[in-house]
C-alpha cells in the first residue's frame, strides 16, 4: 500500500508538532517522496541524528520489502 503525502506529513507532525514540514511527490507517481523538516529540536544534533529522529516518527514504514514508503528523500534543518 502506497502512502499519501498527507499521511507522511501527519506522522512527522505527530513527532514534531512545531516543525515546518514540506512533503513533495518527486516523481508524480505517489511512490517517490521528498520531505523537508525544519525544527528547533534538531539543534545540536548531527544530520544522522536528525534524520534518525524523522525515520523514528515514520514508525517502521520505511522498513522491509513490505514497507509502505518505497522512497523518501529527507532533508532536515534547524530554523535560521
Amino acid at each position: 500500500m502506497a502512502m499519501e503525502g498527507k499521511d507522511i506529513e501527519a506522522l512527522i507532525r505527530a513527532a514534531f508538532p512545531q516543525a515546518q514540514i514540506t512533503v513533495t511527490d518527486t516523481a508524480g507517481d505517489g511512490n517517490h517522496w521528498a520531505a523537508e523538516v525544519i525544527d528547533e529540536s534538531f539543534r545540536g544534533m548531527n544530520r544522522v541524528q536528525q534524520q534518525r529522529a524523522v525515520y523514528a516518527s515514520l514508525k517502521g514504514r520505511m522498513d522491509g520489502p513490505q514497507g509502505e514508503l518505497h522512497a523518501l528523500a529527507l532533508t532536515t534543518k534547524v530554523p535560521e
Partner: protein
C-alpha cells in the same frame, strides 16, 4: 558468524564501505546509484556490498546502524549517512573534509566538478 559480527568485521577491514542495492558497476536502485556514482567519479577506493545478495545482511545493516534505508556509507568503521546526507556532504564539501581527516584518497578536482555542475 552473525550478520552483526560480519558487518563489524567488514567495516573495520575496509576504509570505505558502501552497503547498497546492486553493485558499484550495476546499481539496482536510484539512491544506491547516486552514492556509488559520486564515489566512482571521485575515484574513491571502496568496497561495495550488495545487500540484495544476502537477506541477513540486508536486515542486519539496518539494525546495526539503527537506520532503515539503503544505501549506507561507512568510513573507517563509522556510519556517515544515507543517500541524502552523502549528497548534501558532497555538495557542501564536508565529504572532502571527512576524507581528508580520515586519510582516504580521492580526486579533489572531480569533487569540485560535481559541485560546479550542481551549483
Amino acid at each position: 558468524m552473525s550478520a552483526k559480527d560480519q558487518i563489524q568485521q567488514t567495516i573495520e577491514a575496509n576504509d570505505v564501505v558502501l552497503y547498497m542495492k546492486g553493485s558499484k558497476m550495476m546499481p539496482q536502485c536510484g539512491f544506491s546509484s547516486r552514492v556509488a556514482g559520486v564515489l566512482n567519479y571521485m575515484g574513491v577506493d571502496y568496497l561495495d556490498v550488495d545487500v540484495l545478495a544476502d537477506p541477513e545482511v540486508r536486515q542486519g545493516i539496518k539494525d546495526f546502524s539503527d537506520w532503515p534505508t539503503i544505501p549506507q556509507l561507512y568510513v573507517k568503521g563509522e556510519f556517515v549517512g544515507g543517500c541524502d546526507i552523502v549528497t548534501e556532504m558532497t555538495l557542501s564539501g564536508e565529504l572532502d573534509t571527512l576524507f581528508d581527516q580520515k586519510g582516504v584518497g580521492y580526486n579533489k578536482e572531480a569533487a569540485d566538478k560535481i559541485r560546479e555542475a550542481n551549483a
